[in-house]
Symmetry: C2
Subunit: 401 residues, 2 copies
């Protein structure tokens, strides 16, 4: 296995990972493309002038440059960081992580959120619709999804102001700060190659469109959501903030993570039938921390619907795909209680509050709480690589003007 001339042996951000960010520094405020290596950010265009045309303005530029450029940039960055002959030239362009300001990694075009975890959908069905079957009749026939608000996708580290809105109480409808503020631990897929309108993307071509993955926390105000969501779906309960990791890991880094998805219980219609496709399950291990306490370890391997299925479904009606489209998996929950990717499920809607390491209990988020989601994937040569974290802290609600 190739190794780097940098001393990063203990890091999960080695040569097998190499996620991208858009960053700037106090010294140079121009947004530009960075690659993470250990605890440094490689300033790609500064280190390799030949790549500058592939990454103008940061990751937006790399996405637009297309798959051949993606391959070229990853290969060249790998060479620069592994060939000892490059060290002298490259080292000046390694920015210590603490000096890099990590920006929203790319301009989000449309944002779609799926609902691809059977365990999550089942849990939510039990909690929100206790008198019905937990899974709606359509659930195993198609990956349910809906459009979110692209404008409120924010980069990890952005504070989240507790939203205010309408909720139903035994005494009537109240407009006030959400008292059931939650997280959703998700994986986001970043589209790097668009498609024309009326030209659906088949399953087998999904990898030609997806650039890579990021971690996503789709903050959710469960009380606002519960009151508003019938019949047109979640709106204000979700649209106040969606946090995304600054690091986008290219698909090329996830080859060793590919596994078969769970068995399908219902035969799938042609455009979703992936039985002949190479496996697109992903063996990612997530960790969710509240104020440093590990509260959940959601296994992405248990997700029912795969990214190609989400993409094929999203475009099955001819919807256009654009560079910068983001589609997320929906909350990742495994079958075990300690694998649930939302507090709604972890605390069973307030019925079973859980403890943090400091002894305090939670059902939902309190002001000042900080939530951090991390994840790792198997590395090609053994060991694991890391995805960059997504974190955010809750600020108190603001009074209405």
């Amino acid at each position: 296995m190739t190794s780097s001339w940098l001393d990063i042996e203990e890091s999960q951000f080695g040569l097998e990972a190499l996620p991208y960010a858009t960053f700037h520094t106090a010294a140079d405020p121009a947004p530009r493309l960075g690659v993470r290596i250990g605890d440094h950010v490689l300033d790609v265009a500064a280190a390799a002038a030949g790549l500058a045309g592939h990454c103008e303005g940061g990751l937006d530029g790399l996405l637009a440059a297309g798959p051949e450029a993606w391959t070229e940039v990853r290969a060249e960055v790998t060479r620069l960081l592994s060939d000892p002959a490059c060290e002298a030239e490259v080292r000046p362009h390694l920015v210590p992580l603490e000096d890099a300001v990590l920006l929203l990694p790319f301009t989000v075009a449309d944002y779609v959120d799926f609902y691809a975890s059977e365990h999550h959908a089942t849990n939510v069905g039990r909690l929100f619709r206790p008198d019905s079957e937990p899974l709606t009749p359509n659930w195993k026939h198609l990956p349910i999804g809906y459009h979110g608000r692209a404008g409120t996708v924010v980069v990890s580290g952005t504070d989240v102001v507790r939203p205010t809105g309408q909720r139903r109480t035994p005494d009537g409808i109240v407009d006030g700060p959400s008292i059931r503020l939650d997280i959703e631990a998700e994986l986001g897929f970043v589209v790097g190659v668009g498609s024309e309108i009326a030209d659906p993307v088949p399953l087998a071509e999904a990898a030609d469109h997806i650039f890579g993955v990021a971690l996503v926390n789709d903050w959710s105000a469960r009380d606002i959501q519960a009151w508003e969501y019938v019949p047109l779906g979640p709106f204000l309960g979700k649209s106040f903030a969606t946090s995304i990791s600054p690091w986008v890991l290219p698909l090329a880094a996830l080859e060793a993570a590919r596994i078969r998805p769970p068995e399908r219980d219902v035969p799938l219609t042609g455009y979703l039938d992936d039985s002949d496709l190479e496996p697109w399950g992903l063996d990612l291990a997530l960790e969710v921390r509240v104020n440093g306490s590990l509260v959940s370890e959601p296994p992405y391997a248990t997700m029912y619907w795969t990214a190609p299925q989400m993409l094929a479904h999203m475009t099955a009606n001819g919807a256009i795909l654009r560079v910068g489209d983001l589609f997320a998996s929906g909350t990742i929950s495994g079958p075990e209680p300690g694998q649930r990717g939302s507090l709604l499920e972890l605390g069973w809607s307030g019925a079973e509050p859980f403890k943090l390491d400091d002894g305090s209990v939670r059902s939902f988020l309190e002001d000042g709480d900080e939530v951090t989601i991390t994840a790792t994937a198997p590395a090609p040569g053994g060991g694991r690589i890391a995805l960059g974290e997504v974190s955010g802290r809750i600020l108190p609600a603001k009074a209405r003007p």
Copy 2:
């Protein structure tokens, strides 16, 4: 009343209207800002070099230039088209309508679709959920809305390929061309001034953010929608195409259309309480034609929720607003059968097919059908002004690859 030196006496696109478009011509392919006057398009920057900085690239430039520029451009265009001394200078910059290629008028940031017509929501409730109360309990407490797909907003005149997707039949789930393809006649509001995250827009400040209005046809595949929409709302049933008029009429042209909205049956919580606000109902008269046959005359005056209420609600949780955000009213239906803004309602879900002038009947759209929506509003000095039309023709479904 001011009159123009152009002979436009019979036109509803006179000096009181002056809607904007982004256009180009065969001779000059650069997208630029146009103002409609009669059957001509005024090339604004060419006619008034002093305004060029306010409209770079077309309407996007004017939106970004802000409210003072909006006032200045409208005043200057009015002067140029009314002062006989300007005729010689301005006339060369009037492009005959048939020579102008009208483009998507602005870059759509986020697209939200509301559900603001009580009559429409009641009709749809009866048809989609016959065993429940037609209006959901939340309907009169808040303007229900959801995010649509910004990337598939297309300009009037763009053909619409019949979408293919899953629908439920007595024999099981079928993937095939939609057989219940419908329209939704709507009014869209174009945001010209954004807001910061966590900074809701109060009702009284809505006019500081809304630039103007456009006509919208939110094409809908009712069979796809009915199968997919529980629990997270419409997705593929809507996201294949949303057509918008090329013309955006500034709010300044709608002063004479302002009327009181309908009486509210339920007391409104503070951020939605418009009882002290100047009236924001809009007395617009829409006409919906299928292949030239007038099938409906939806009255916008009957809409329950106003644009400021939609905007205040959309941002009540702190969601960011961006220049280019588009929010639409939802289907406009009046109380009478001939005032319904969707075929679903006009044909009562296939139970009561309606006739076109050529004797053919329709419940939903057939391949080749062309739908055109037009609207007029009261003009300040009497008479009426027109909004630009939105039209589209249905092409046959494409086979799955």
